[in-house]
């Protein structure tokens, strides 16, 4: 499965090399274009990929990872020569590195930052700045060999990922075979989101309200449970048996769409339309986080984020996610302009 992931990367880097080779072969014709954005007139010029330099370090959500990775490639194709590192370690771990260790410039996240994380960020002098970059429809998937499940309710979903032992415990007409579960690890934003959206409402506390702690206990106490921060491990696991079920970001489903079936939730299939208009119950925002201080101190980070926000919609569908609303993107761009001290 790693091979599957590596091959396109090698392919793309070969293409990138060719492109950059072509680019450097024809600089003579280029200068005509340059005067259109001279540094004196256009304040954005100092943030262009081919003018900024230095390294960029990002870490966090494995869901946002493929998107950031794509934007990184585009940024490099446009002439950025520094190093961009993106680690896929889960949203929680990403905030840990951004807010506690403070060694990253950008935190990728598939959930909004928690108050406690904002607190720890302030302790090290970083005021987290949120940029909405897209929308994910969390995909609940089974193998395409599975012919019996196509549609579940949220209540059934909570049952499938907790106390039900056999499929027949959820619906009597389903086979009496054990459910094999493959879910993202507890450090991942996808796990947190699923617990919050599905497990917590099904496991109310004493006050009758949705209880995240109880939801977490319910899903982690389930039998035949495999957890991994590596979504490809989960894909492999779900492919392994018609009685397996798992969930992860939509991009990983789309990459394996011919061998996986995605389930409809409450009768709504995850599509671009249902994710964007919020009809799909498990649609959720994707973010990248940085801080104004970092944007001012490191123009390359500011440049990358500006590039990210202005170009993300060209790539997002191809990566497997859905565009954020224009208002959300505009708000993100405004926040960026404020942070670097520029009039929008």
């Amino acid at each position: 499965m790693t091979m599957k992931r590596i091959t396109p990367i090698i392919g793309l880097s070969v293409i990138a090399l060719l492109v950059s080779a072509c680019g450097s072969a024809a600089p003579a014709a280029e200068p005509v274009v340059t005067p259109t954005r001279p540094a004196t007139e256009d304040p954005l010029a100092m943030y262009m990929p081919d003018t900024v330099s230095g390294d960029i370090i990002a870490a966090g959500s494995s869901t946002v990872f493929p998107l950031s990775e794509r934007m990184k490639q585009r940024f490099e194709e446009e002439g950025f020569t520094g190093n961009i590192t993106i680690d896929s370690i889960g949203s929680g771990a990403g905030f840990e590195r951004f807010c506690v260790d403070g060694d990253t410039d950008i935190a990728n996240a598939s959930r909004a930052i928690k108050d406690s994380e904002v607190e720890s960020c302030r302790v090290i002098g970083r005021e987290p700045l949120e940029f909405r970059v897209g929308t994910d429809a969390l995909a609940v998937v089974v193998s395409s060999e599975n012919a019996f499940v196509t549609d579940v309710t949220k209540t059934e979903l909570a049952l499938i990922f907790s106390t039900a032992v056999n499929w027949s415990d959820v619906r009597p007409e389903w086979p009496a075979e054990p459910i094999l579960r493959f879910i993202p690890g507890t450090d991942s934003g996808t796990f947190d989101y699923f617990v919050e959206a599905v497990m917590a409402p099904a496991n109310p506390g004493d006050d009758g309200k949705a209880n995240v702690g109880k939801g977490e206990t319910a899903i982690l106490a389930a039998a035949n449970l495999q957890l991994s921060e590596d979504d490809n491990v989960l894909v492999q696991g779900v492919l392994g048996s018609p009685y397996a079920v798992g969930f992860f970001g939509f991009a990983y489903y789309q990459e394996n769409a011919e061998t996986l079936n995605v389930l409809s939730i409450e009768g709504v299939e995850p599509t671009a339309e249902t994710a964007e208009n919020g009809k799909y119950p498990l649609a959720r925002p994707l973010f990248i986080y940085s801080a104004a201080a970092i944007l001012r101190a490191k123009p390359q980070v500011a440049g990358f984020i500006y590039f990210y926000l202005t170009n993300v919609n060209d790539e997002i569908l191809d990566v497997g996610y859905f565009p954020a609303s224009q208002e959300a993107l505009d708000a993100a761009l405004d926040a960026w302009s404020d942070a670097v001290g520029m009039q929008p």
Binding site: T2, A59, I89, G90, G92, A93, E96, R97, V100, E177, L180, G185, T186, D187, S188, E216, T217, L220, A221, A223, N224, L225, Q226, L227, S228, E229, V233, Q236, G237, L239, G240, S241, Y243, A244
Partner: protein, 316 residues
């Protein structure tokens, strides 16, 4: 172990020259000191590891949520929700190691006996290096070999619904292949060290080649063979990448070799891969597992030393 005894002999050797007048030689003293340092270095490292592990594991055992009895007897391991029973990790470690040894001991022994007793000089010279190449393959490669080749093979034999995609059997089998050359090579050394006179005496009494090999040479080399096997078991228990890739990613208390589970080492790899926050109970728990692993292998090594001493047959 062998290294140590050689070093001891080396130091003891000058004693035989006692008749000559002792003369202090600076160079000699320095070398002796360096050798002593080399010998004690590994001991200090070991002590350091124990202290470091213990230090980090202590907060785990001090945590009011944890009690030692539950830790050793509980059947659910999920630190995130306060379930701290290490048994599922221990059982899967033992099951994968057992499967590995079922492959490695018989095949390794057979290979060793063949190489030492039957193979001609020429055959041995070609075969032994090839066997040792097996031990030189990186274990991550073995891991994907288990996942991509052995698991599908098992599934085609026993059926897709019997054998899960991540399972202990394939990891164990491949681990057996990894450990086979280790056992074969060490046992072959032990068999080779048996004096030729023993074999000749047995032939003189009319024994067949098989009888000589199995009834004379193997018993004479038993201590070395036992040591090889114990080292193999320790290797199996500590093996990480193969099980991390192919055995699964969730603690599972089961004795079914075709079910997915997670060994102690595999769990440490997965949990620490997610950049755990320090001072969380999850983080401390991996040191408790590490300590457990350390004691397991330490225990095995002590047993192996006992066995070696007990069965040692000394020849002039």
């Amino acid at each position: 172990m062998t290294g140590k005894s050689i070093a001891l002999n080396g130091i003891g050797f000058p004693a035989r020259k006692e008749g000559l007048r002792k003369r202090r030689r600076i160079g000699e003293t320095i070398i002796q000191f360096l050798l002593f340092f080399a010998g004690s270095f590994s001991i200090f490292i070991t002590l350091g590891i124990v202290v470091a592990l213990g230090n980090e594991a202590l907060p785990f055992f001090r945590n009011p949520e944890v009690n030692l009895v539950d830790f050793l007897t509980g059947t659910k391991w999920q630190p995130h929700i306060g379930a701290f029973g290490i048994l599922p990790l221990v059982t899967s470690t033992f099951i994968t190691s057992l499967i590995a040894m079922l492959i490695a001991i018989p095949l390794g022994m057979a290979a060793a006996i063949y190489l030492s007793e039957y193979a001609s000089m020429k055959v041995r010279k070609t075969l032994k290096p090839i066997l040792e190449i097996l031990a030189g393959i990186p274990t991550i490669v073995y891991g994907y070999f288990a996942l991509m080749f052995v698991t599908p093979l098992l599934r085609s034999i026993f059926g897709n619904n019997v054998v899960q995609i991540y399972n202990m059997a394939s990891g164990g089998l491949v681990m057996g292949v990894l450990i086979l050359p280790l056992i074969a090579s060490m046992s072959e050394d032990a068999l080779n060290a048996v004096p030729r006179s023993l074999r000749e005496a047995a032939y003189g009494l009319g024994a067949t080649k098989l009888e000589v090999a199995l009834k004379v040479v193997v018993p004479a080399a038993l201590s070395g063979i036992a040591a090889a096997i114990i080292v193999g078991i320790s290797r199996a228990i500590g093996e990480t990448m193969i099980v991390a890739v192919s055995v699964g990613a969730g603690p599972n208390f089961t004795f079914n070799p075709f079910a997915g589970a997670e060994t102690m080492t595999g769990h440490i790899v997965r949990i620490s891969g997610g950049d755990l926050s320090y001072d969380s109970i999850d983080y401390n728990s991996i040191f408790a597992i590490g300590l457990m692993l350390f004691f397991l292998t330490l225990g095995l090594n002590i047993i192996s030393q006992r066995i070696v001493r007990r069965f040692r047959e000394v020849y002039e």
